[in-house]
Amino acid sequence: MGQHVSLAVDIGGTFTDVVLRSGDLIVAEKTPTTPDDLLAGFFTGVGAALARVGARPEEVDGPIVHATTVVTNALIERKGARAAMVFTQGFPDILEIRDERRYDMYDPQIEFPRPLVGRDSVLTVDERTYADGTVGREPSAADIDALCAEFAARGIESVGICLMHSYVNPHNEQLLAAGLRDRLPGVFVSTSSEIAPQIREYLRASTTAVNTYSVPITQPYLDRLETRLADEGFASSPLIMLSSGGVVGPATAGRLPVRMIESGPAAGALGAAHAATAMGLDTLLAFDMGGTTAKVCLIQDARPRVTGLFEIDRMYRFREGSGLPVTVPSVDLIEIGAGGGSIAHVNEFGLLNVGPRSAGSRPGPACYGHGGTDATVTDADVVLGAIDAAKFLGGAMPLDVEAAQRAVRRLAERLGTEPMATARGIYRIVCEAMASAVKTHASDRGVDYRGIPMLAFGGAGPVHACEVAELLNSELVIFPPLASVYSAFGSLVTPARLDLVRSGLRRLDDIDWRQVAEVFEDMEDEGRQALREAGCAGGEIEFRYGADVRYVGQHYDLMIELDGRPTVADGAAMLRRCFEAEYVRRYTICQDEVGVEVVNWRLVASGVLSTPPELGRGTGRQDGAAETRRVHIWQDDQEVRVLPRAALGAGDTLEGPVILEEAETTLVIPPGWSASLGAMGCVIATRT
């Protein structure tokens, strides 16, 4: 074929998306996810994509980037291995005691998630490292023998080790790990000093437990993937997407599965960042609304925001603090309980509410015809004429309009309003809910959301995006092509990348900058090795330096990027300058008089990216029949033009209200907005 052929495969909960790229040619394929053997769906999708361009596996010589839900599945279904943890003697209950916080003040019936490794699988060892790194006591050989005998007797497959202050000095953890590996060669061993070398014993232990629990599932999965790709003759080996938006080789990923948990959403955020760059925008709000939830991610400086902490397995899905904390770099997403399946209901005040309860995909919205009777967001969209029932999923799944109308009518009766007003209310209230979640998320991070451009994707995103944008005072909404496989596309535009972190709690005037240089050298070595494994040549590897910093007296720290690697001469001044700049940017004020301290050092190692594909080139304008239909979103019985998305040609401007349809979604352009074609084949809606 002459061009490099590369693949992106994103295994999600419902669908496995495949995007194949050969030069500027892009092919997308969607196939159902196969939960019993995720790789079955992987190869079905890849096979179909190759067949469409007539390529053979041997011709796939570019990256094969993979995002997968395998770790998440293991965690949520609690299908992980027989895992055990080892803690310092005296501290066996770190996972059960948590941080003592009650995440909901008001609910006396509050519950906390069950730890992944229960108390009966926790052993302790007589050892101690102090906060300054001094080893008070090493684990004895006899104690290691006894631990191993116990694990062997219980048939433990995976062991996590989290000892006090191992983030300062990993000596005892390494000693213990080596002892375990010698005596129990078949057992997977995870050490907290490798998984999450950061101060705060509960966070480190929780993260290590998640890794320990998922290694025995993930490593064989990645081995199988590699073997099968080689067996089928693929010319390149896979790269694995991480939650931070980086990609690494299967060996690194297999050792650190805790870093793969949010790989799918991370890929979507990268796609959004790519779009931001292509559009020449610094800041962008990626808005992905699907069947059960909406996910929002802020793109700043054309990069997704990365956070150092997130949660899995929340007791209350959308409640911060109700899950198991994981402290590894991850794209900073909010998940909102508002999707096409969100159910509308009448609350205790007799007012209309939407969500967070969802009809899911079974029975799904009433209009799916699977027996659902509750009015959902999708039902309202059908009743309002926003979605054409006959063309849903490109006509593959016609919707039952009457069922939607019945559901909405029943709700309207309870509410005492007209059905159309009720449907319109559902539409507006779900948009209000999403806008207010974005506002809270943004102000929590010191980002001014007013006027921020939006990128809308996911099945339901483009239907609601402009309304949400208006509530955020935004005047620009971008609808990318390939909206329904946008995450997979995102992973094709990602350079190899690994985020590293080391604890270093010290006041700024107390820091030994020579030692800091050693810490960074050590991280650079680790990053270089992981990236070489991912196929990067040494000269292509770039490093970015960062730190988590706070004012002395504050308990939460700010992740900042440094101008470069700190030196003995100007480390302190540079760090303070970068910290204050970021602090002012987020909080508008800074405190000159207060001391500053570093909590963690960070390094991002990344490879360089080959030229990203130009989308939408050469797709000639397609004439669409000038159709109209009755739409009731803004007023009753409005005749609105409906065109296929492809009918919008370069240089055209369509004044709203207008609806643009494509196979998997519908672009709703309200009155007062206009649509035109932009870079990369994106449709650009602007408020006029």
Partner: protein, 535 residues
């Protein structure tokens, strides 16, 4: 022009108000220097109508602050009626009109629209310092506890009061942090006012009176309806507990459900009198934790506002420990205040048995280590704390190492050991300390620590609940009482105590009470089951 009586328009506007307060509270919490504000969300942020009635509140915050702010806002709005101009900002930390001690400073600003006041926005934050001896029980009267800021204008027509700022700065140990936190409160009050004006623009409103009246009315109706669904009658509950130093406090609450009026009346007659230690509680704070207890059992999802609060009346004898009078010391009022819900829950067991929880230790055990490094430099640890076990629920055990009604996080041991030479030898669950029961109470913890030093050091600790244990409910057994030992011997010190270099502190925090007889159904099941309110 939006229609207030439309179930969709009203919801949209109400949702916008909720969004405004939550967003502003988040912004304020983010910038706070005060660790309790950032870590524990010890703040409240609310919107008031033009008459000073609380209308919407951020869902962050502790009950003590949230419900006290309702009173403080009303008080300030009334006191300054007719004297406010655009750009004015009010402030006070009056314990009796505020949240019960000097650390909590309330800032309130009027919202102007076309030259007319259409409402107020304000917040109460816990500040890092307010002069005086710090959070402790040692003061003889309130004046020993720090700086008293009367209700005054902090800003006049947009200009800061230099005199007031100078006085505040000169009277606190960390003037920059206090000023920084005060300015964050001012900024968020202004931000909230702007957002309310934007709402009026979008919906074509001249003011928010019609909207807020409707919100308050609907909430009040829903609250009264929930009360009327309860059985009529009066029940009493009593809680006894010992605080640091061995003083025994008794709180007695009688809870009356008045179905005709749709009201809950709570009276604390028979509770201990105020004492000469800084643990006395002002009525505002008692009221706050009382309404918290009632609302968390009856209507946990109903929004907090003047309407939902109105049907709950709280009285307590003047001069009692839960309605202390000037000049009683109050700095550590939470030590007793955290127990206010306990007798109410016991009484409510007869009303909504499935929704209450058994007693638990109301307060966390906090401690602090102070000393000098080998080079002579002084060190002081953060105030660190460990929870006991929470009381059991009818169908669920009490969570271990978790406190109710407070629910603050514990500082990680590694952070404490990095700040100071303290070394922990042990921290584990105290298995079996929760009372047995059909649902067992939560377990407390065993914590043991010393200091890696060759110099004497000072311990500052405040254990409670060592003589009286958390009572079981409905036949459930009591939780184990706490123990606090130094070198294996029960410690009876109070406040700051000198220690030898290798002294070892050992504590067992109390367990929560069990619910229901250990091998069977709950022994007494009174009252009707009240259905959960719809989502």
């Amino acid at each position: 022009m939006a229609r207030i009586d439309d179930p969709i328009e009203l919801e949209l506007m109400w949702a916008t108000l909720r969004s405004v307060v939550t967003e502003q509270a988040k912004a304020m919490q983010r910038t706070a220097f005060s660790p309790v504000v950032r870590e524990a969300g010890d703040l409240a942020y609310a919107l008031f109508d033009a008459r000073g009635r609380i209308v919407a509140q951020a869902d962050t915050g502790t009950p003590g602050h949230i419900n006290c702010l309702a009173f403080t806002g009303q008080y300030l709005a009334a006191k300054f009626a007719g004297q406010l101009e655009e750009g004015d900002v009010l402030v006070t930390n009056d314990p009796w009109e505020g949240a019960g001690h000097f650390f909590d400073i309330t800032v309130l600003a009027p919202i102007f629209r076309d030259g007319r006041i259409i409402g107020f926005v304000g917040s109460t934050n816990h500040h890092t310092d307010i002069g005086g001896p710090g959070v402790g029980v040692g003061a003889n009267d309130v004046h020993e506890e720090g700086l008293w800021i009367p209700p005054v204008k902090l800003f006049e027509r947009g200009k800061p009061s230099k005199l007031l700022f100078d006085i505040i700065r000169r009277n606190v140990r960390t003037p920059d942090l206090i000023t920084g936190d005060l300015m964050a409160q001012v900024a968020s009050a202004r931000g909230g006012g702007d957002a309310v004006n934007e709402l009026c623009d979008r919906y074509g409103l001249d003011d928010i009176e019609g909207l807020t009246d409707r919100i308050v009315d609907l909430s009040e109706q829903a609250m009264r309806k929930a009360i009327r669904a309860c059985p009529e009658g009066t029940w009493t509950g009593e809680t006894r507990f010992d605080i640091t130093g061995g003083t025994v406090i008794s709180l007695k609450a009688s809870v009356t459900i008045d179905r005709v009026a749709g009201e809950v009346l709570i009276d604390f007659a028979g509770s201990s009198p105020q004492i000469n230690k800084g643990v006395n509680v002002v009525l505002n704070y008692t009221h706050a934790y009382s309404t918290f207890a009632v609302r968390s059992c009856l209507t946990p999802r109903l929004p907090n506002n003047a309407g939902s609060l109105a049907p709950i009346k709280v009285t307590a004898p003047q001069g009692s420990i839960v309605n202390c009078t000037y000049p009683a010391p109050v700095a550590a009022r939470h030590v007793v205040g955290m127990y206010v819900p306990m007798p109410i829950l016991k009484a409510l067991y007869h009303v909504v048995p499935d929704r209450v929880l058994a007693e638990g230790p109301g307060a966390v055990w906090s401690a602090q280590v102070i000393g000098t490094h080998p080079n002579g430099a002084p060190y002081t640890s953060s105030q660190f704390s460990f929870s006991g076990g929470m009381g059991a629920r009818a169908r669920k055990p009490g969570p271990s190492a978790t406190c109710y009604p407070t629910g603050i996080g514990a500082t990680p041991l590694e952070v404490l050991e990095t700040e100071t030479p303290i070394v922990f030898r042990r921290r584990e669950l105290r298995r079996g300390s929760g009372g047995r029961g059909r649902s067992p109470g939560g377990d407390g913890q065993i914590v043991e620590f010393g200091v890696r030093t060759e110099r004497p050091w000072t311990l500052n600790a405040a254990p409670t609940g060592r003589r009286f244990c958390a009572e079981g409910l409905a036949g459930g057994e009591d939780g184990a009482p706490g123990r606090f030992c130094v070198n294996g011997v029960e410690w009876h010190g109070e406040g700051k105590t000198p220690m030898k270099p290798d002294d070892i502190v050992y504590m067992e925090t109390p367990g929560g009470g069990g619910f229901g007889a250990p091998d069977g159904e709950a022994t007494e099941r009174a009252g009707a089951e009240v259905p959960e309110p719809a989502e």
